[in-house]
């Protein structure tokens, strides 16, 4: 490896003064002749990036390669039980076929899709409403309001899921008991409702964070625009609807993108609720299916194939959302 570094430009007779100048111009001025970089031999930049690059290669790049590689193989156990030999065979796409024919795994995608379609709009909607209210002149107690909505952020998702688990559990839950005393019987853990109980934990945990992101977007809108709108006779609601929401769209889309990625990854909340109900099955979400197949069924090859499928679907969805985002931005720019 030749460790060479460009520190100054060659046209300068002495290095120090003009190198400062060359630092300030990141790119050569258009039309100016291309400057040839002068390299000073120093390993410093490589030593600086080495720890990260090394860790990145080992714990990000290599795992992906290993997972893709493993997904095309299968382990054959010959003989009886543990005494038999293990043989790794090339399996082609058979792991992928198995994954696609795994009814539970495929259902888990539909489940998180349904979850995403219902829960994400509710969560982002709530975040937007709280952000708009706190940003408006209607709310006097801004700091307190922010603390109330943002407080769940300091509770780890797993702990929140444990806590809500108790609040869902008949016998312990003050909600179930309270409703029962007025003659209403609810079950948060039935096959039909448990998905929304999971969604409630997610909402509880993430409304605050999303609100803060949207609120930061709102704060960066120049206040003069509101004044102009008020002179034109717009009320708070009209300002929120016609000015704030369109202007905060980039932040809003960002929270939507994060939430969609988060939904496909859904793991912590449902797997904690597994401890109190059998209605959260082992392969309830794609991520749970991957872990279940890898750890419990000990089929790492099939698990790898499922992880690759999940990654690809996540990627496609992220790309679709960011394409929509960019199309919206272009439309905004044109109008």
């Amino acid at each position: 490896m030749t460790a060479t570094t460009r520190l100054a430009n060659p046209e300068s007779p002495s290095g120090s003064v003009s190198s400062v100048k060359s630092f300030n111009t990141a790119k050569p001025i258009q039309g100016a002749p291309e400057r040839k970089p002068r390299y000073r031999s120093t390993p410093a930049p490589y030593l600086f990036v080495a720890p990260f690059v090394l860790l990145f290669v080992v714990f990000m790049l290599a795992p992906m390669v290993v997972a893709i590689y493993q997904s095309f193989f299968t382990v054959k156990r010959s003989g009886l039980g543990f005494t038999g030999g293990r043989q790794t065979l090339f399996a082609g796409i058979s792991n992928y076929l198995t994954a696609f024919h795994d009814h539970e795994f495929m259902t888990s995608f539909l489940r998180v899709l349904m979850f995403g379609v219902i829960q994400v709009p509710i969560m982002i909607g709530l975040s937007l409403v709280f952000a708009l209210l706190i940003d408006s002149t209607l709310v006097k107690f801004k700091k307190t309001a922010q603390i109330i909505v943002f407080l769940p952020y300091s509770v780890p998702v797993v702990v929140a899921a444990i806590m809500w688990g108790f609040l869902y559990q008949p016998g312990v839950s003050p909600i179930v008991k309270g409703l029962k005393s007025i003659g209403v019987t609810v079950s948060f853990l039935s096959p039909q409702t448990v998905l929304w109980s999971v969604g409630n934990v997610t909402t509880w945990c993430w409304v605050g964070v999303n609100m803060v992101i949207i609120f930061a977007g709102l704060q960066s809108i120049p206040q003069d625009i509101y004044e102009a709108a008020r002179i034109d006779g717009a009320g708070e609601f009209r300002i929120a609807w016609s000015i704030k929401i369109p202007m905060v769209m980039p932040s809003l889309m960002l929270t939507v993108l994060f939430s969609i990625i988060g939904t496909i990854q859904l793991f912590n909340e449902p797997s904690v609720l597994q401890s109190i109900t059998g209605n959260v099955t082992a392969k309830y979400t794609p991520a749970m299916a991957v872990v279940n197949v890898t750890s419990q069924q000990n089929n790492q090859n099939l698990g790898a194939a499922m992880a690759v499928i999940t990654a690809l679907i996540t990627l496609v969805l992220s790309l679709i959302v960011s394409a929509i985002q960019q199309a919206a931005a272009k439309k905004e720019a044109r109008s």
């Binding site: 520190l7 190198s19 630092f23 930049p45 600086f48 990036v49 990260f52 860790l55 080992v58 714990f59 990000m60 795992p63 992906m64 290993v66 997972a67 409403v129 209210l133 209607l138 006097k140 107690f141 700091k143 309001a145 109330i148 909505v149 943002f150 407080l151 952020y153 300091s154 509770v155 780890p156 797993v158 702990v159 444990i162 806590m163 108790f166 312990v172 003050p174 008991k177 704060q219 206040q223 509101y226 004044e227 008020r230 002179i231 717009a234 708070e236 988060g262 990854q265 797997s271 904690v272 109190i276 872990v291 890898t294 698990g303 790898a304 992880a307 999940t310 996540t314 990627l315 992220s318």
Partner: protein, 311 residues
């Protein structure tokens, strides 16, 4: 509201007129708002009583939804297993909080304290290293031109799109092959890779370390590393603190990775340990109380830090 007369000193005539009409001055005096429109421009619109009531209702409901469950956790942490079922949710029985906490820290030779310590190691120590690794890389990307720089930048951008959960299984497979399964290193090492942190450090270096200063340090004969550790890194401290905080929260929340990697309960972080207790609580009733008390104890420091940083 519109009849309210302002006692404050409006900055200009327009503001005075509007203030008298709408009571914005009263609003301003009571709230002490600095950034809102009516202070800045002396303009405010009429706020009807009904919208005021509506806002109050919204935030009272929000209080019940976001805060009261955490308060329930406190009430539940003062009860024993029997009282949890027999008494009302927000009704105190015998106040057994201290007794529960004592049980929590003595159960199985104080394994809960061990979990807390593990979480502190994974998150505290781990995030310091994460911040340092990110800072060095982000700084080098800003200061130097070198071969491979573009590749690193590209890889960073691409990896921001890879969700943590998706990469967890492949990382687990690799850790097993490296013989790092069921070790602390197996949890720590992957957490050092934080592309978002590198990007943040790159941006921080751009905005807070002038290249003239680095050049001056070089002229004075300081080596590249000395320049970084003694001059540039202190200038990047705000950004480093942000990276540390983000990395800390992420790793404090982390559950899936340690769950897959670790088998030995002595190495569990609090999250994995508590869920383990929760899973056993259906057969061992006492563990239900310990889980609740443990959950309560584990979030107290976080909530206190959170409230402190809000001021």
């Amino acid at each position: 509201m519109s009849a309210a007369v302002s006692q404050t000193q409006p900055r200009d005539l327009k503001a005075m007129r509007v203030t008298k009409e709408t009571g914005a001055g009263v609003l301003r005096r009571k709230t002490g708002l600095r950034r809102s429109a009516q202070v800045k421009h002396g303009m405010a619109i009429k706020v009807s009583l009904w919208s005021r009531i509506l806002v109050w209702v919204v935030f009272i409901v929000a209080f019940f939804y976001f805060v009261v469950p955490a308060l329930w956790l406190f009430v539940a942490a003062t009860k024993n297993a029997g009282e949890l079922y027999t008494t009302g949710g927000f009704e105190f029985a015998h106040f057994r909080l201290w007794e529960n906490i004592r049980n929590l820290f003595t159960y199985r030779g104080g394994i809960f304290a061990r979990w807390i310590l593990n979480s502190v190691i994974y998150s505290g120590f781990g995030s310091v290293i994460t911040a340092l690794v990110s800072a060095m890389c982000g700084y080098a990307l800003y200061v130097y031109e070198f071969r491979g720089k573009k590749i690193i930048m590209g890889a960073l951008m691409a990896s921001l799109l890879i969700p943590a959960t998706v990469i967890a299984q492949p990382v687990y497979l690799l850790l097993i092959q490296l013989g790092l399964g069921n070790t602390m290193a197996g949890v720590l090492l992957p957490s050092f890779v934080y592309p978002f942190g590198v990007m943040l450090c790159y941006i921080t270096a751009q905005s807070s370390v002038p290249k003239e200063i680095i050049e001056a340090a070089r002229i004075d004969g300081a080596g590249e590393f000395r320049t970084f550790f003694r001059i540039s890194m202190p200038m990047m401290m705000t950004g480093l603190a942000t990276v540390f905080l983000f990395a800390f929260m992420q790793s404090w929340n982390s559950y899936m990775m340690p769950l897959m990697v670790l088998d030995d309960p002595n190495l569990y972080p609090v999250t994995v340990g508590l869920v383990d207790w929760r899973n056993q609580s259906s057969s061992v009733a006492a563990l239900g109380t310990l889980t609740i008390t443990g959950a309560f104890v584990s979030i107290i420091p976080l909530i206190l830090i959170f409230l402190a940083t809000q001021k």
